[in-house]
Amino acid sequence: MSNMTRNRLLDGAFRAVGLLATLLGLLLLAVFLLDILRTGLSRLSWQFLSALPSRFPERAGIYTALLGTVWIMVLTALIAVPVGLAAGVYLEEYGRKSRWSALLEINITNLAGVPSVIYGLLGLNIFVRFLRMGSSVLAASCTLALLILPILIVATREAIRAVPKTLREASFALGATRWQTIWYQVLPASMGAFLRELFWPCRGRWAKRPRCSCWGCWPTCRLRQKAPWTSFRRCPFKYSTGFRAPSRHSESTPPPLLLCCCSLRLG
């Protein structure tokens, strides 16, 4: 066999292997989704969504956990989005090239790599204990806001960077101040890109790290919600405590389905 035929063969072989590997990846995804749909869909009912937790699996529901999840998501977004936007605007429009912004830059890159369980510890110490919020929705939301802050900042910066310079210059030429330019020109022009950056997983180039984790994995460490002003538990945690008791499987199966729906919708 000549060198050339051998090389051609190898080339063809790799094409096949590559296609197989890609399909394997997709197959894994399909198996995964089908398994969730198969085991979860039949158990998903209105009663399951609206009933309170119960000792009897057939009467149990996730109403409280579901509400807890929704509460936390809304509150987290309310806290994190304004701060993230402001920080992103500052870094992109004001803080160029100073030592302070270089520090912020490195800092954000590093924060993005901190495991969520560490944020959980931080939230436990600072919000739950030190600020005496207790294990509450508020404490959980503050913690999660810190967790997604680096992601929001990078999304903001990517979006703002895409706004053409001419827009700013035109605004300045009309005598607008810096903030007026940002508020009336830059932000409206970048909103679309911002939302895209935020909800479209992995599409951005942010520090070369997919932001898929943004809505998917919350720090599930010890963020149960008892007391001050609600008694909700979030789905993931409820779910993660449910897995230890096999008899409760019938109760704890659909949450993954819900979670998946949520995150796929957002993604």
Partner: protein, 291 residues
């Protein structure tokens, strides 16, 4: 007018400062709480003892079993994600049509967007029974199942980021290689991959760092028995699992038992910090600039 502008700038700077406060908060919190711990347990014992039994009557505080559990699950995950991810990246970049790539890449990235609790459940109820049929005698909780599911989770990290790195290699390099009569495989292996090696390495480092810090999959499917082993078929406990176990259990705050989670936390923090910064440094240092 001027004052208003100043005020707004100050407010914005304050928001940006929150991220610094967060970092400071994490470091101070871990350091202070871990200091409590290390006042009672010497650092030497912590790093060299081969048993981790802080919740038992006979207490041992050796972090090694937790680190080995973490490295074991991470190792399995990388063993799954690295070859598969690299092959997919090369295939999508060098062989597949643009249309195919544009459809497949986002689809694969969905794998990384699934909440990890769901993955943990999948590992425990689907992957483990399946593997048990192949390997009789495997424990119900084990590193292999958790690790391979974690590998699926980080697969898109490796494949997409490596693919981005491959795309960044200029066309002229490929064309020169083709002009010399090389096949696509030869071009990919000997020209494109070496040229993109820094980007690929960074993607792998980020994937490792993500796997080390992953919590829910291992907490659900890998078990909660700290042991110093390289056997993926038995239950192990990772650092993250231990933190979840203690912080969501009924260990009283302020006790030595409770402080162990901060010692474990600081270990985890240092581990991921080093990995991320090696990645960051690598990117700065070895990035090939073509333009």
């Amino acid at each position: 007018m001027k004052q208003r502008e100043r005020l707004i700038e100050a407010l914005l700077a304050l928001s940006a400062g929150i991220s610094v406060l967060t970092t400071g908060g994490i470091i101070v919190m871990l350091a202070v709480e871990a200091a409590h711990f290390f006042r009672q347990v010497p650092l030497g014992t912590f790093l060299t003892d081969t048993q981790w039994t802080p919740l038992f009557a006979d207490k041992h505080f050796g972090i090694l079993p937790l680190v080995s559990g973490t490295l074991l699950t991470t190792g399995v995950a990388i063993a799954v994600a690295l070859p598969l991810g690299l092959i997919i990246a090369i295939y999508l970049n060098e062989y597949a049509t643009v249309g195919f790539r544009n459809v497949i890449k986002p689809l694969l990235e969905v794998l990384a967007a699934v909440p990890t609790v769901v993955y943990g459940f999948f590992a425990l109820t689907v992957v483990t029974p399946f593997l048990q049929r192949l390997i009789p005698g495997m424990a119900g909780f084990n590193a292999l199942s958790a690790g391979s599911v974690m590998g699926i989770m980080i697969l898109p990290l490796v494949s997409s980021l490596s693919e981005d790195a491959l795309t960044a290699v200029p066309r002229s390099l490929r064309e020169a290689s083709y002009a010399l009569g090389a096949t696509r495989l030869q071009t990919a292996m000997r020209v494109v991959v070496p040229a993109a090696s820094s980007g690929i390495t960074v993607s792998v480092i980020l994937a490792i760092s993500r796997a080390v810090g992953e919590t829910m999959i291992v907490a659900i499917a890998a078990g909660q028995e700290p042991r110093l082993t390289a056997n993926p078929l038995v239950p192990v406990e990772t650092i993250t699992t231990y933190i979840v176990q203690v912080s969501s259990g009924d260990v009283a705050y302020g006790t030595l038992e409770y402080d162990t989670i901060f010692a474990a936390g600081i270990t985890l923090f240092v581990l991921t910090l080093v990995l991320n910064n090696v990645g960051y440094w690598f990117r700065q240092k070895f990035r090939e600039q073509y333009e």
